[in-house]
């Protein structure tokens, strides 16, 4: 049987249960998504977009899926401090595999501003039906990727955040996805984020895995940013080496908005990040960046597509990779400028360092330009640390290993600068240091968290 076959059978057998455990808009588009998935299947290396990552293979093992929404019986708030960024634990929400955790409230949580809704997506589909109906599935509808259809077909719940017109969130929201189970598990979480005109918000979206089991997360996040709104989206990946983390982020940008997406990969097994951005209104601004520190046999594949449909917008894209051991890094970026999108500015940069003989790096920074009055540049480099610089530091008495670490810090520092939440920046810095020292997996009081254990 094909890899897709087992999932097609599951859907046919259990679609009733899936729908029962979900609601509203999520169910409305489910059958159609399943039909598309049956036709398309999972992407393989034959697909130009998946040249370096055989995704279908990742779905081959016999994963458990929590179709009946069984309770995993954990209270993440008991250990909330381990999963939150120190100093900004005002509001933290949890997804357990793919279900929103709402049996308990966060103790001593700060008040949400009036009109702001943050809750389970399933619940929102009922209680805020008009909003969810309006947005759900709309940003991802043009995707040709079978794994997105898979998520839409199987996803029962997830995260919902709505910031109404003109409301400015006074603190960042944290969303933590905890992968936890007694057996190999496949999760299909979904997030829907709506930032209305003139509103402002920041979200730290992290993922952790609790045990050394095979986990596969296939998550879809849809983000809608209104006119003149400001939104920052940080993705922090710090899991285990057996985890496959497949992320699809779709963003729709309206006129004059400012959006920052920063994807930080510290530890994982196989990571595939897809980011697709559509500029729908003029004079909007996108900072799209990321850093990845890979070692062991980590495989990280980032694919970004930025479509400039309208003029006057700016994309500034910066991805930095440090590849060690037998890790593989891939970066494919496309900036497309449509014929009417005059006065577009697009800059795309991917710089990578390979630290070991067996590390691999594939980079494809692509530009597709159909308008003439544009400024578009891209640059990519793959290389090593500069020996002259290493020597310079050593000549000042700094040991080679420290010299190299300092230079690696310097190498990723411009991506760090794009972390505009100071507390998160500090936490990431500490994690980066641990990673470079090879201490990221050292268990300290059992926590594997962004709080990075100050002890």
């Amino acid at each position: 049987m094909s890899i897709e076959g087992q999932y097609i059978d599951i859907y046919k057998q259990y679609s009733g249960a899936i729908k029962k455990n979900s609601a509203g808009a999520l169910n409305d588009v489910r059958d159609a998504a399943f039909e598309r998935f049956s036709k398309r299947g999972f992407p393989t290396k034959k697909d130009e977009e998946y040249l370096y990552t055989n995704l279908a293979e990742s779905f081959a093992p016999d994963f458990g899926m929590n179709i009946n929404a069984v309770d995993f019986n954990v209270n993440p708030y008991e250990n909330a401090h381990r999963y939150g960024v120190p100093g900004i634990n005002n509001r933290i929400y949890f997804i357990i595999n793919d279900q929103f955790y709402d049996k308990e409230e966060q103790p001593k949580a700060a008040e949400l501003p009036e009109g702001v809704i943050i809750c389970s997506l399933k619940k929102a589909a009922v209680e805020h039906k008009d909003i969810v109906d309006k947005y759900y599935g709309k940003a991802s509808k043009d995707s040709k990727d079978g794994s997105v259809d898979f998520n839409t077909a199987f996803s029962e719940d997830g995260f919902f955040m709505y910031v109404p017109k003109g409301v400015r969130m006074p603190y960042p929201i944290q969303l933590t996805c905890l992968m936890t189970s007694g057996a190999d598990q496949l999760a299909t979480g979904r997030s829907l984020i709506i930032i209305e005109d003139d509103a402002e918000a920041k979200l730290v979206d992290s993922i952790f895995a609790q045990k050394e089991l095979k986990f596969l997360a296939n998550r879809v996040t849809e983000i809608f940013v209104g006119k003149r709104a400001k939104y920052e989206h940080y993705k922090v990946e710090n899991t285990k080496r057996d985890m496959t983390n497949l992320n699809h982020v779709f963003i729709e940008l309206e006129e004059g908005c400012n959006v920052l997406v920063n994807e930080l990969t510290l530890l994982n097994g196989l990571t595939r990040n897809n980011v697709e951005v559509n500029f729908r209104g003029k004079d909007a601004n996108l900072d799209l960046c990321g850093m990845a520190l890979c070692d062991g046999e980590q495989h990280l594949d980032t694919n970004t597509i930025v479509n400039h449909w309208v003029g006057g917008c700016t994309t500034n894209e910066l991805y930095k990779y440090v590849m060690n051991d037998k890790s593989t890094g891939c970066f494919s970026g496309t900036i497309m400028v449509a014929q009417d999108a005059q006065k577009t500015k697009g800059i795309q940069t991917n710089k990578s360092i390979c630290l070991s003989k067996d590390a691999r790096m594939y980079t494809r920074p692509h530009l597709e330009i159909y308008a003439d009055d544009v400024i578009c540049n891209h640059g990519a480099t793959v290389g090593q640390l500069n020996n002259d610089e290493v020597f310079y530091l050593r000549s000042r008495g700094i040991p080679e290993s420290v010299a190299k670490m300092l230079l690696m810090f310097a190498f990723v520092s411009d991506v760090e600068e794009k972390i505009l939440i100071p507390e998160l920046k500090d936490a990431v810095r500490m994690m980066v240091e641990k990673k470079f020292k090879g201490e990221v997996e050292s268990t300290c009081k059992g926590c594997s968290s962004i709080s990075a254990c100050h002890s």
Binding site: E48, Q339, Q342, S352, C354, L355, S356, K357, D358, A359, R360, M361, Y362, T363, R364, P365, H366, L367, E368, I369, Y370, A371, D372, D373, V374, I375, C376, N377, H378, G379, A380, T381, V382, G383, Q384
Partner: protein, 484 residues
């Protein structure tokens, strides 16, 4: 008011036509359209080929039948009916002309009109020319002078007859028949092309040049060029191409294979000016070419191309840097106008240690054309200290065209340094006004600026070709000065 002015200029210049669009009225020997094993046997028989070559062709044909046209290029590829194409057309003339008197005067006139010096006394510079019309080589000049140095320069059909061991040793070693769809097709039906052998330690005393001309209607041209530069030798080789203006498309699928042995150097320059189709995008040559060279230790291969013609261009002249310390270079100017489409670039495969490559690509798009750079740099696990630098620039003239850049960098070695830079720009209003203020017309300003933009590449061409290439750029872009 400024706009009216521009309109007038466009109108005046739109009348500039492809000046090589004439046809030659000459008796032609055809094999009827269609492709099957019998066609291939017939081609092979007409050329009196040995069995091993027929076998090579048949293997290639059987492979081709199993293959599909590549779908990844950024090209709107029309359906091609391979059974409607004639695979062999040759101007009727005596077998191999010993002197010019034996060459049909119509042919001489054709090449004269194209500015190709095949009458040796008329030549201004020392250059040996192999002139190829449709499927066969018409005349190779300066053979005797070259023979004195031990250099072989002749049509590949002649080489098969006279130097079968050399051809057999190298044919298909750099571009195997199974390489890609068009390479398989070419391997099955190739008609003629040039063969060059430079013996050990010899520096070829003159430029070698092949001139390709499509004349016959509904005929594919499938030439095959094989260049072998033995240890410590040097050769500079040029090719030029034109075709008549016809409403039907013409298929061209060529292969160029180059072997650059230890410490040898080959410079390969192309000025490609196949008929690009008319202003509505009707007709034109579909140009699907596989060009690849293999570099041994300390060898150097340099590709330079000026691509102004063809309705569709699909070509990636490549270097396999197998030997340690070998060097590959690729310099390209690709111009597209009207409805032309180009997907062109290079592949640099670093296999040996301390190998270096340099890529400089300048794309110019005008009209409603689509111009893509696609280039691969691959560094293998054993290619320690490989270095690559790529610069890919695009210039857009007008707001209906597209300029795309698709680099691929696959790095499997931690000592490699690979850098890629690309920019996309247009001619700025300030630059136009500055030129205008000095009395320079819009047309001349565009051509000055475009030539300046492409200078790094044009400078790599041999002198005589550089002038011609510059002129070609001007003609190709003459109706685009609506900038400013």
């Amino acid at each position: 008011m400024a706009e009216n002015n521009d309109d007038k200029i466009i109108e005046e210049l739109a009348n500039e036509e492809y000046k090589y669009g004439f046809t030659t009225d000459i008796d032609t020997d055809y094999i009827p359209a269609g492709l099957n094993e019998d066609t291939i046997r017939l081609i092979s028989a007409k050329k009196g080929e040995p069995d091993w070559l027929l076998e090579f062709r048949l293997k290639a044909y059987n492979q081709w039948k199993k293959m599909e046209m590549p779908h990844w290029p950024h090209l709107d590829l029309p359906e091609i009916d391979y059974q409607a194409i004639k695979y062999y057309a040759a101007p009727k003339q005596k077998k191999s002309p010993e002197s010019l008197d034996e060459v049909d005067p119509e042919l001489l006139k054709t090449f004269d009109k194209l500015g190709i010096p095949i009458e040796e006394q008329k030549m201004h510079v020392e250059m040996a020319v192999d002139a190829i019309m449709d499927s066969v080589s018409v005349k190779t000049t300066n053979k005797e002078k070259l023979a004195a140095e031990g250099i072989i320069f002749c049509s590949i059909s002649e080489a098969v007859k006279n130097y079968p061991d050399l051809v057999k040793k190298y044919l298909g070693t750099v571009v195997p028949y199974s390489d890609n769809f068009f390479a398989a097709l070419n391997s099955a039906v190739f008609s003629d092309g040039s063969f060059v052998y430079i013996p050990k330690g010899v520096r070829c005393p003159m430029e070698l040049s092949s001139y390709f001309r499509i004349n016959a209607i509904n005929t594919g041209q499938f030439e095959r060029t094989l260049i072998v530069a033995d240890d410590e030798s040097y050769v500079s080789y040029l090719e030029g191409c034109t075709a008549p203006a016809r409403d039907e498309y013409q298929l061209h699928a060529a292969i160029v294979e180059i072997i650059v042995n230890d410490r040898a150097e080959v410079k390969y320059s192309t000025v490609q000016n196949w008929y690009p189709g008319d202003k509505q995008g009707k007709g034109g040559v579909y140009n699907f070419v596989t060009k690849r060279g293999l570099c041994k230790d300390d060898a150097k291969l340099s590709w330079t191309q000026v691509e102004t013609g063809s309705a569709i261009t699909w070509k990636y002249p490549s270097c396999v840097l197998q030997g340690d310390n070998s060097v590959g270079e690729f310099y390209s100017v690709a111009v597209t106008n009207n409805f032309q489409q180009a997907d062109t670039g290079t592949k640099m495969r670093h296999l040996g240690k301390n190998t270096r490559s340099h890529i400089c690509s300048k794309g110019i798009s005008a009209g409603r054309s689509q111009n893509s750079y696609r280039g691969l740099v691959r560094v293998s696990p054993n290619a320690d200290n490989a270095r690559n630098f790529s610069q890919c620039d695009s210039l857009l003239l007008g707001d209906k065209c597209g300029a795309h850049t698709f680099p691929y960098m696959d790095i499997h070695n931690d000592t490699a340094v690979v850098e890629h830079e690309a920019t996309t720009s247009k001619i700025s209003d300030e630059q136009m006004f500055y030129c205008n203020q000095r009395g320079i017309s819009n047309n001349n300003a565009v051509s000055l600026i475009v030539n300046g933009y492409a200078k790094e590449v044009l400078n790599k061409l041999p002198m005589e070709f550089a002038v011609e290439a510059q002129r070609l750029l001007e003609i190709s872009l003459e109706n685009t000065s609506s900038v400013g």
